[in-house]
């Protein structure tokens, strides 16, 4: 099976690397957590499956200069491609263990769907269902109910770039074209969106988890959110300042955001901030025909221009 192959492959590569990043079981069998493997015995704790949610590419820019191995799903590999494109990491320093992915589970959604998830003793996939055993009773939910929206629309389930591709390729097809939450958002009037953000942003606590989880947010120590010179936004947690931060994050990621959804997943307040990133990404697609993280040669659209723009009417 491919987990054994993956473990073996990492063990073989480890002597030449400073560390390899993957996932291990978290605080319960219904969670996984990032794992940094330095020694051969660390590799035995590695897991891979529907709980391997984190986009581990987020760690790579901080480890620049080290020889690092990383396990990636399809969506994560787009972040790696984009980081390489922007010279934020160098190709010779990273060893990529690519996997095919059959979708991951949103812990928040699963937690809302089944009772007492923290007492789960096992979790497994059974066809299109997720089966969780809690207090010796099996609870069964449809995968599509508890996966993040990105898995419903996923067009790149296999690692797009790898030094070692392990196991079978996934042949998952997207279940829908537009994420359901985005569709509902698009149907709202501008006035309703104004009120929507006033409400949503009033619970943002400005913890910056969304920024810190983002693989493409690489200037954290100099982030506009905290700079005093220039002073772009105050630390006041009013809806206005919070929205200002979200729009800054969104605009800084325009043409670079790989729509991995880590920002939204990391948010402790469950704020639907991916809607803004998805809107910007759709704008970039329509205006410049560009999709971040799929083509290692493609220029970031906002760092270049065409004298005659094909899709801009003046």
């Amino acid at each position: 099976m491919s987990l054994d192959q993956l473990r073996q492959c990492i063990k073989d590569a480890l002597p030449d690397l400073d560390c390899v990043i993957g996932w291990e079981q978290g605080h319960s069998p219904a969670t996984a957590t990032p794992l940094f493997m330095y020694e051969k015995q660390d590799v035995d704790r590695l897991v891979f499956g529907p709980l391997s949610v984190h986009n581990l590419a987020t760690y790579l820019p901080g480890l620049k200069g080290k020889k690092v191995g990383i396990v990636v799903k399809g969506c994560d590999s787009r972040a790696v491609v984009q980081l390489l494109r922007e010279n934020l990491i160098s190709r010779e320093d990273v060893t990529i263990f690519g996997m095919g992915c059959n979708g991951v589970i949103s812990h928040k959604r699963l937690n809302r769907t089944v009772d007492n998830l923290d007492r789960a003793s096992s979790l497994r996939m059974d066809g299109d269902d997720v089966v969780v055993t809690i207090d010796e009773t099996e609870q069964r939910v449809a995968f599509a109910e508890v996966c993040p929206d990105k898995c419903l629309t996923c067009t790149h389930p296999n690692a797009m770039i790898s030094d070692h591709f392990i196991g079978e390729k996934s042949d998952r097809a997207p279940i829908c074209e537009t994420p359901p939450a985005l569709e509902r958002f698009q149907a709202m009037s501008i006035e309703d969106r104004h009120a929507f953000w006033e409400e949503q942003m009033s619970s943002c606590v400005r913890c910056y988890a969304c920024r810190n989880a983002c693989p493409m947010c690489v200037c954290r120590d100099q982030c506009v959110a905290q700079s005093r010179d220039p002073h772009w936004m105050s630390q006041e947690t009013s809806p206005r300042e919070n929205l200002m931060f979200q729009l800054a994050h969104t605009l800084h990621l325009a043409g670079r955001c790989v729509e991995c959804g880590e920002c939204e997943r990391a948010c402790p307040m469950e704020l639907p901030i991916l809607l803004l990133r998805q809107t910007a990404a759709a704008g970039i697609r329509n205006l410049f025909g560009h999709e971040a993280g799929v083509d290692p040669e493609a220029q970031i659209p906002l760092l270049t221009f065409a004298v005659q723009e094909a899709n801009i009417k003046e």
């Binding site: 104004h194 809806p239 906002l302």
Partner: protein, 168 residues
């Protein structure tokens, strides 16, 4: 005096130093009558305009934002306005998702000799903003009652007290 009847609104104009600021100056020197709602911020080049300038202006209570630079091909720094064009176009796409009416934002190109075009641009844009009325404020609502009031105010349109009251 505002050439547009009614209370003045807050319109912010980001103008590049080399063309549009010159164009506005030409309009002034020629004594063309213009609405006075516009507050001009002079920038070295339209390429200097971070889209966040515009977002910040709106969140701080601007009712409209106008950006003007040199015509494509005429940039003093050769390509600043080409970069600006991409960013501003993207911003136009993003504003409605943030709950800001994109009709409140306009960007255009005016050269230093085009005093008459400048007059026309400012007048048309100011008229448009007056038709839209004061922008609903990001007022910092923080309770369910406040949110309901904001939603109601937005639905009632410019006639409602939520719009452009003095305490905005």
């Amino acid at each position: 005096m505002s050439a547009v009847p009614g209370r003045e609104l807050r319109i912010i104009g980001f103008l590049c130093n080399w063309c549009s600021y010159g164009g506005a100056d030409t309009a002034g020197v020629s004594r063309f009558e213009q609405p006075t709602d516009l507050r001009v911020v002079r920038v070295p080049c339209s390429g200097r305009i971070d889209p966040l300038f515009i977002v910040r202006a709106f969140l701080n209570g601007a009712d409209g934002v106008l950006v003007s630079g040199c015509h494509p091909g005429d940039c003093h720094y050769s390509e600043g306005n080409y970069h600006a064009r991409r960013r501003l176009e993207l911003l136009k796409h993003l504003l409605p998702a943030a709950g800001i009416d994109p009709a409140r934002f306009h960007y255009t190109w005016v050269s230093a000799s085009e005093g008459a075009k400048w007059q026309q641009t400012v007048t048309d844009f100011t008229n448009r903003i007056h038709e839209l009325g004061p922008a609903p404020a990001f007022c910092g609502a923080s309770t369910p009652e406040d949110w309901a009031a904001v939603a109601l105010g937005a639905a009632n349109g410019p006639g409602c007290s939520d719009h452009g009251g003095d305490g905005k």
